[in-house]
Amino acid sequence: MSTEGSEAVIQQASGWLDKARTQWQHFNTWLELDSSHLSPGRQLSVKYFTVAVILFFAQILFGLLAATQFLAPGFLYEILDFSVNRMVHINAMVVWMLYGFIGCVYWLLEEESGTEIVGLKLGNIAFWVLTSAVTVVVLVYLLIQIGPGKDSSLWLINEGREYIEAPRWADIGIVVVILIFFYNVVATFSKGKWSGIAGVLTLDLIALAGLYVAGMFYMTNITHDQYWWWWVIHLWVEATWEVLVGVIMAWSLMKLLGVKRKIVEIWLYIEVALMFGSGILGLGHHYFWIGTPEYWLTIGGFFSALEPIPLVAMVVHALYDAGTHSFKNSNHPAVAWIIAQAFGNFFGAGVWGFMHTLPQINLYTHGTQWSASHGHLAFFGAYATINIAFFYLAIQHWRGNVWMGGGMANNWRWKWALGLLNGGVLGMTIALLIAGYEQSFIERAVGGSTWGGYFDAQNHPAFVSAMAWRLFFGLVTAAGFVLLVWDLMTIGKTETRKAQVIE
């Protein structure tokens, strides 16, 4: 290329860059967010929330692609196959929820400890390291996708184990970042003051970080592989994450509704006892059919049947507290999402889980769309909701702790976003449940899980129409997401009143 040619290219590129910069400035001016309203710790927290929202979008987008492939298998065939879309769908979900949780903890850390975050700089570095690593992992998932059957593929591309597909190098990075986060939490509480909430949070984070390590080994024996794999997945999702949500919920009930600390902390201990008391051995419901001994049928069945109890306790907790305070609160959208959390967690994780957890029925439902139905409502109900509640809390303070109660401008937006997101996920859940019933009956009970039986069930009109409804409700969910983001960017913008003070 001639010098003139390359100069022209450079000029054009710098022109685009300038344009992008101007657009970005316009966008920021339009947003009218003033970070000086936030403490440095909370500025870190909203960084996590921002990436969480972007990954939430990725989750929905790739979910829609995968849902389309159920109806039109030729769609993106050998370009972005179902396996790739589905992997990005579930990984984006796990990671955006983790980002949300880390954001929530950084949000409450300074106020709860009464001091500034000790390793703020380190926390910021960890944020950028994690975010760069996540970007690289996703790009490799999308562009390289698979490798030869060698260790190098597991280290660099994809570990091929559902939910924890991240290659080994990223696993190590995740552990380091989590340790930095953990250091920040413990050191900040040690410097400031400890509380019941702080204690539970610290112990829970030890378990959360430690358990991840159980999923970082390769094993030829698939029974052992899946044994440890469930240690990570189950003990995260059905134990440590639930307790983490209990901590975040307890803190937010104090702040939003003015519930007394003593009450939320007693509840938190009760929830921890019930959650770990049922959830740790409830792990057994994943050990029915993977080659592990028969005693797991009894232990897993019994303890997982108890798992809904703490979730009932959480509903009672949230609703009773809200009721005794006559729903008087400082942030209407956030409280609405917390109520959605209480019900979503109970129905999604509790009821939908219990419906197919006993081995007598699980023999037929295991590995069918029944699990997908449960998964959708449980992850959304238990974890997406509480994070969204915190997004609203964050935006309220980002705008200078403005009024977020009755008579807000464009009040309809958050209500419609709430309705569309919950309605969309519930619609997908019901559609997948119908598909699951049909599959359990036709493929499993009648067809005996052969490949012929599998496809008989997949080709059945009841299944096909269920998949069409799932896609439709997926689009409803996506519409709710768009509205949610629009609302988060605009809510409270023109508000001049200060937030209601809750005693």
Binding site: P73, G74, Y77, E78, F82, S83, V84, R86, M87, I146, P148, G149, K150, D151, S153, L154, N158, G160, E162, E165, V200, Y218, T220, I222, T223, H224, Q226, Y227, K262, Y269, I270, A273, F276, G277, I280, H286, Y287, F288, W289, G291, T292, P293, W296, L363, Y364, H366, T368, Q439, A445, V446, G448, S449, T450, W451, G452, Y454, F455, D456, Q458, N459
Partner: protein, 199 residues
């Protein structure tokens, strides 16, 4: 009110309960984990050694225990080769690694775990879709290496993509699937009619 609250409403009671329940449950889990892992090492009663791929494997209803059980039969060599436990392990290991590298689990289920876009692989070795025990090995290897040309869509239009699986890797996968079909999975899947079953 200066009265002390009853025990069941006191913070310290629930704090202690939470700690003891968590510690107790975790301890039980650790003990059971040691037991489960030792009962399921390759070569145990529940999870046969890798050299089981030299044998004929079937899966039948066992009246005595009232569930479906794997049945290990006489010699039936895989790809016509008798393998030592060590060589068999190497072959199954290659298969397992390939299954992970190719991300099979995000379409298929293995032991019922994974995604639901393609059939379960737990007893894939025994599936009647492979026509007859004589043709099976060859059909499986061909299918894995070029799934589009050898597509088995069962009228669904869903085709496995070409995952650039080499012949050695394909043989490894077949060995892995054969070995996996010999694991005692407590009767899952139920009512499965194998390629060996007589009408």
């Amino acid at each position: 009110m200066t009265e002390t609250p009853p025990l069941w409403a006191s913070e310290s009671f629930w704090k202690k309960t939470a700690i003891w329940v968590t510690a107790g449950s975790f301890l039980i889990l650790v003990v059971l984990t040691f037991d489960s892992l030792s009962q399921t090492t390759a070569g145990s009663k529940r999870v046969p050694g890798y050299a089981v791929i030299n044998k004929k494997i079937d899966y039948r209803f066992d009246k005595a225990v009232n569930k479906f059980m794997p049945v290990i039969g006489d010699d039936e060599l895989l790809f016509g080769q008798a393998l030592s436990e060590e060589d068999a392990k190497a072959l199954v290991d290659l298969g397992k690694k390939t299954v992970q590298s190719k991300n099979c689990m995000n379409c298929h289920t293995l032991l019922g775990n994974g995604a639901y876009y393609a059939p379960d692989l737990t007893k894939a070795w025994l599936d009647q879709g492979w026509v007859s025990p004589e043709l099976r090995e060859d059909l499986m290897v061909k299918f894995l290496m070029d799934p589009e040309k050898n597509a088995r869509t069962f009228g669904s239009n869903r085709k496995m993509p070409n995952l650039k699986i080499t012949e050695t890797e394909a043989k490894g996968i077949v060995a892995f699937l054969k070995w996996m079909s010999s694991i005692d999975t407590n009767g899952f899947p139920y009512n499965f009619k194998t390629i060996e079953a007589e009408e």
